[in-house]
Symmetry: C2
Subunit: 340 residues, 2 copies
């Protein structure tokens, strides 16, 4: 029998951020690991998903999920391997996904919804946090259920090189749409077009979003999948077609604002165009994740879609790695590697 | 045979307004009336509908309908009586509705969609511009098709004492909803509750919109019918329920802005609540107006709904009467009486 782990390093929320999170918002703790109770398992966390939504969880106030409490381990989804088990349902060596938190080891019972087994033969472990994980589920259900694109329509997606945007665009291509991404910088735009097969990508850092939309969406915009809010949302609103659908998935440009949120000044384009703007939260579709996983893993195996992760090693680097989400540095799904 | 009219007074658009329309935006012309051509009719305009949307028609730029051109007779819907006819379909004495414009006499052919016969025994002529006219159609289809309220839900409507709001609230009551209006001043609020049967009305001139919504919508807001935009839209966004529907029908608070439109800063409430904001334009439902007219006139006859008009006499008064829409003075549907 190998030596069992004795301690568990954890990032706890020390204080609520104002604007961008700083080192002062975190406390790195080291806790002893208690023996397992009957029915519990212990998971060694291998990879953690770092997501824009985490910034929202650090705020107080009513939202779609309760805030992380001060002193609590920061919430994060991850994949890991079972290292101890007193549950009949999980064996040592099983790979599992769950809301493990920013820590080395997760310990808990195995009631439904806590853990899901994942198969590393279907896709790499980081891909289970990306196209087969929350970002992929968000993209799949947000696009198909709220955006409802039809073949031949034009789909625009912002943060196109990010975890959600990447999959939105690739699924839209599978559905026969013209797909235009919006991303920051020539490298991301090249990746989105050349690697992922988008029809075009607009570099918002070059500034001319309106001109880019006019050039690359000559038939207007039927579906806009919005991850960013702010001026990009306004620019797209100015180009939507009759009966367009705007999926409000996030607003990363606004999450760290200390000023009030900037509302979309062009929202009356919804009236003129009889268009719709609708919010979505991925958890609403939890009972149908397996359907989406089956479809998306099929595309992956057939080489019709790609999963790209930006993997940073070391639990210690969590505070600074998280910031990559907000300064536009990450390229593909941001994943923190906690252990080999 | 009575003497036929020889001249026609008309208000033409002289210049596009910046902010509120002023006297300089109008030219009062007097034109000779040419003899009728074969197939034409001449209508004496009796009542004209004055609507917030007219402000939009005075602007240049793409919208759901082409702008009124400089020098053109100002567009307006109205009811009148046929005074001359060279059409087999209309006889002198027939009452008709149509887009007659701000003038004493309308002359034109009778191709489908130009004129619709109206029956003054079903409802008064002004009511044909109100609950049985465009405002009523807007209210009926916006509420039922976009808002989709279910019995027991809470429906909030702004500009509740205005032409559209009045009917929105009364139809929602017929559907078994809790109905809360937002209007300016105690007289309008009293009217909305005591005469129209709304459950409550919030006086936005008293300022405490958020507190009023909290008090009068204890179960939150399921449907919001927005005629005003601005801070009222933001206040309601902060109180919406899961899966709420917001009907964007207008934004009168923003129409005369010389500053940029104020976007709804609380739009991310759509995300948290998986809610929807959707624009509507009444013309899309034109083929179903007769259905709505039949239903609404039935409610009127049964005394289950009321139509209230604010009637101002005199074509000459058009420029100043129009302004009542934007300074909150009108009470019920604003109608200009052009002739007895």
């Amino acid at each position: 029998m190998t030596t069992l782990p004795q301690t568990n390093q954890q990032f706890r929320l020390a204080a609520r951020p104002v604007g961008l999170p700083t080192a002062d918002n975190w406390q790195l703790a080291s806790e002893p690991l208690a023996p397992l109770l009957e029915g519990e398992v212990r998971v060694q966390v291998l990879y953690l998903s770092l997501d824009p939504a985490m910034r929202g969880w650090m705020n107080e106030g009513k939202s779609y999920i309760r805030p992380v409490a001060i002193g609590e381990v920061m919430r994060a989804g991850g994949v890991g391997v079972v290292v101890e088990s007193k549950s009949p349902d999980f064996a040592v060596g099983d790979h599992v996904g769950g809301a493990f938190g920013v820590q080395q080891f997760w310990t808990g019972d195995t009631k439904p919804g806590q853990l899901n087994k994942i198969d590393p033969r279907v896709a790499s472990l980081p891909a289970w946090l990306n196209i087969l994980g929350m970002p992929g589920m968000t993209a799949y259900f947000g696009l198909t259920e709220i955006g409802q694109p039809r073949a031949g329509e034009t789909v625009v997606v912002s943060a196109a090189a990010g975890a959600v945007g990447m999959t939105v665009g690739q699924v839209a291509k599978q559905l026969g749409c013209r797909v235009v991404g919006i991303a920051g910088g020539p490298d991301k735009c090249r990746f989105v077009v050349e690697e992922l097969g988008f029809d075009a990508c607009i570099d918002y850092k070059e500034g001319a979003i309106a001109a880019g939309l006019k050039q690359h969406c000559p038939q207007g915009v039927d579906v806009y999948f919005d991850n960013v809010g702010g001026e990009i949302l306004d620019a797209v609103l100015a180009r939507i077609n009759l009966k367009a659908r705007i999926v409000i998935c996030g607003a990363i440009s606004q999450y760290n604002n200390t000023a009030p949120v900037r509302g979309p000044a062009n929202y009356l384009s919804l009236l003129v165009n009889r268009a719709r703007m609708e919010g979505m939260v991925v958890f609403d579709y939890a009972d149908r994740y397996p359907v989406a996983v089956a479809e998306l893993s099929g595309y992956l195996k057939q080489g019709r879609m790609k999963s790209k992760e930006d993997i940073v090693a070391g639990l210690d680097s969590f505070p600074e790695t998280l910031l990559k989400l907000f300064n536009g540095q990450n390229f593909g799904k941001l994943v923190l590697q906690v252990a080999q």
